[in-house]
Symmetry: C2
Subunit: 408 residues, 2 copies
């Protein structure tokens, strides 16, 4: 099945090198295809690591081991397998991951827990150990490659390569963050998987890196949804080589901490948006802005209820300013809300205020807004100061075509 | 938009009269159509009433007033408006409902709270009081009609009339329960609404009737889903005229109580199934049987996570025995589950057991099962004795067509 490039795709940016980070790719041929499908990232000694992982309780071995490695806080290498998720494969799947960790650890002379492994693709088939061994061996000696080549090698059903670069001044020192991510769709019998990797030359302590990543995750990756389904393999890892030479940041009180946190959140938000922009069948990028909730978390839950509502998503697909469906979604979220204080706008134009449709509501600018690619829905609950923004895409025939019409 | 009759439709049954229940319909012309759209049910003095209502916090005035009336436990009449849901219409919508209650109460010489009102259809437009007044006046003097005519008059976007009749022996006395229901789809800018009405000649106390309805609801209406969206108007009411002459049942200790409860649950299950069978775009009726959970409620939550998963629903639409998507849905439910104890079957054939794909899994009978209209998914968690069955339909291009492609 050949997927058309998403109409919401962004071009791959120019990404500078990150000192202490070397990318290489190889062909493990996990599927019957002729493309790089094994990505190997070598990290300088002293690189610190952090991670956030799926909350799905049926998670993969890679996620279990990745959590343990992230808790130790140091990383020397990352291996990403594309074409086989190794999920639901029991002890045989675990052995394959441990083999990769040991093979790379022996090459680098590091501890196995410093080698992070992710896999994405078909489920229920143990990662073939022979292919993994040969693929890793080839990758270890392959020439360095570009960020775009790595972004393509980790992809499965993505319709475009996804990368983001941001920089920040930490005192006198400019640091760079580069990120690549994959995720979009799930073609039978593959599973949706979002895998994201962030690399920086900043000098930061592992606990601080973890705190930045976890905090940013809560307002970015945890605020996107394509279809409400949660992969068993979702992973975002961050690695900091420290090569930029800034004074080490260990806590949010240290100079430069705020700037680094802001850069990390900017990075995560941009990466998260790229995943939504490649959502299966997506024709429109939707931002749901919830204000006036009793708390930020309540606003996020309400925003997700709206963004996950098939009725809201199909209304947007149809260019229909159907605020009644938004009211319904607010009401079903299980959070405090008062029908008679609710206000709803599309593209900044209020359609309903304080629980009533506006008498002088002008549909023309709303229709023009909904005909575009970037849709804004504002919901004010009129209760408190809680706010959140959630991002999603519309629900179209393309989603059904990808997930029902085609079989592997 | 003309909707094709659902391929899962059942014929309307022969339904006997219920002593003390008289049905009449009229044309209030809430929309520009030439059909009966106002249903009036007159109930004999002494009829007891019970109700279950949407949990959506942005519920309609009809739901708010219906809750209050059900708490009082007596019913003399029911009025159902089709074509206008009167939701999100503030005080003007409330005045229209109160007007109907008063008009019918004056006619019958009863209290206004004994008159139940439901409305379904377009939202954000107050129910027009003139049309309601004339429609009610016409209905009060209309000739009695059949159950099927009433089932058609309460319908909006349903593709077939929905009725169920069951009977039970309470000691020496045969009692009858008749039910009609509407619900299926939501065409912009209408909202999904499930409205169900159950009538019986059994003699039961109001608290007992409420307990039976609430208990049955938990295992029937609360176990169906079409698209996870919850209407602001969902309502199921039960009325018992007592004309069958059985000894009054006041508690679950009384003779006949178990038989009545079983009949009520059978009625509710059949009505609930009819709504799923008219789910928007539905081509397949899916039963998700969850066993081995830590509790019945945990099993229900996991079943709903599976039944609401767009990836599971599209897989079934495509005839794909994609157990990996079922694993994913189990894992995201937020309930206790152990990947390595999970077993999954389609049509009674195990595809995966104890967390591993079956080596000798025979896909042929599974493919044949999935090509049919009635699909069974069995999920055993291997943890405890909790069990639940949840019913849903597949997710097809028809759903997108109904909700995105057409506008009102």
């Amino acid at each position: 099945m050949d997927l058309e490039r998403s109409p919401l795709a962004l071009p791959f940016p120019e990404m500078p090198p990150i000192a202490g980070v070397t990318l290489r790719v190889a062909r493990a041929r996990y599927k019957n295809w002729d493309r790089a499908d094994l990505t190997y990232v070598e990290l300088a000694p002293g690189t610190v690591a952090a991670g956030v992982f799926t909350k799905n309780v049926c998670c993969s071995t890679e996620v279990e081991l990745g959590r343990q490695s992230a808790a130790q806080g140091s990383g020397r290498a990352l291996v990403v397998n594309a074409g086989n998720s190794n999920a639901f494969t029991g002890y045989r799947g675990r052995e394959a991951v441990e083999q990769i960790m040991q093979q790379v650890a022996a090459h680098l002379g590091c501890a196995p827990h410093e080698v992070f492994v992710s896999s994405t693709g078909v489920i229920g088939v143990p990662l073939p150990r022979d292919k993994a061994r040969e693929g890793v061996a080839a990758a270890l000696t392959a020439p360095p490659c570009s960020w775009e080549e790595a972004a393509l090698a980790i992809a499965t059903t993505d319709t475009f390569a996804k990368g983001v670069t941001v920089s920040a001044m930490l005192g006198e020192t400019r640091v760079t963050l580069n990120g690549i991510i994959k995720g979009s769709g799930m073609i039978a019998p593959d599973m949706a998987t979002m895998l994201g990797y962030i690399f920086t030359d900043a000098a930061v302590a592992p606990d601080f890196l973890q705190a930045c990543l976890s905090g940013a995750n809560q307002r970015t990756f945890s605020c996107i949804t394509v279809d409400s389904d949660t992969s068993t393999s979702d992973t975002v890892l961050a690695f900091a080589t420290g090569k930029a030479g800034n004074p080490l940041i260990s806590s949010f009180e240290d100079p430069g901490a705020d700037a680094f946190m802001a850069a990390m959140e900017d990075m995560c938000r941009q990466l998260a948006h790229l995943v939504v922009r490649d959502g299966e069948g997506a024709q429109k990028f939707i931002a749901v802005n919830v204000t006036g909730a009793v708390s930020d978390e309540s606003a996020r839950i309400i925003g997700l209820a709206i963004a996950n509502s098939p009725l809201v998503k199909t209304a947007i697909a149809g260019g229909d300013a159907n605020w009644g469906r938004v009211v319904m979604a607010v009401g079903k979220a299980g959070q405090p809300a008062d029908r008679d204080r609710l206000s709803i706008a599309f593209g900044g134009v209020w359609a309903a205020r304080d629980g009533l449709p506006l008498a002088d509501y002008d549909e023309a600018p709303v229709a023009a807004h909904l005909a575009g690619r970037e849709i804004d829905i504002d919901v004010d609950l009129g209760l408190g100061m809680g706010r959140a923004t959630v991002w999603t895409c519309d629900l179209t025939h393309g989603y059904i075509a990808i997930n029902a019409d085609y079989r592997s």
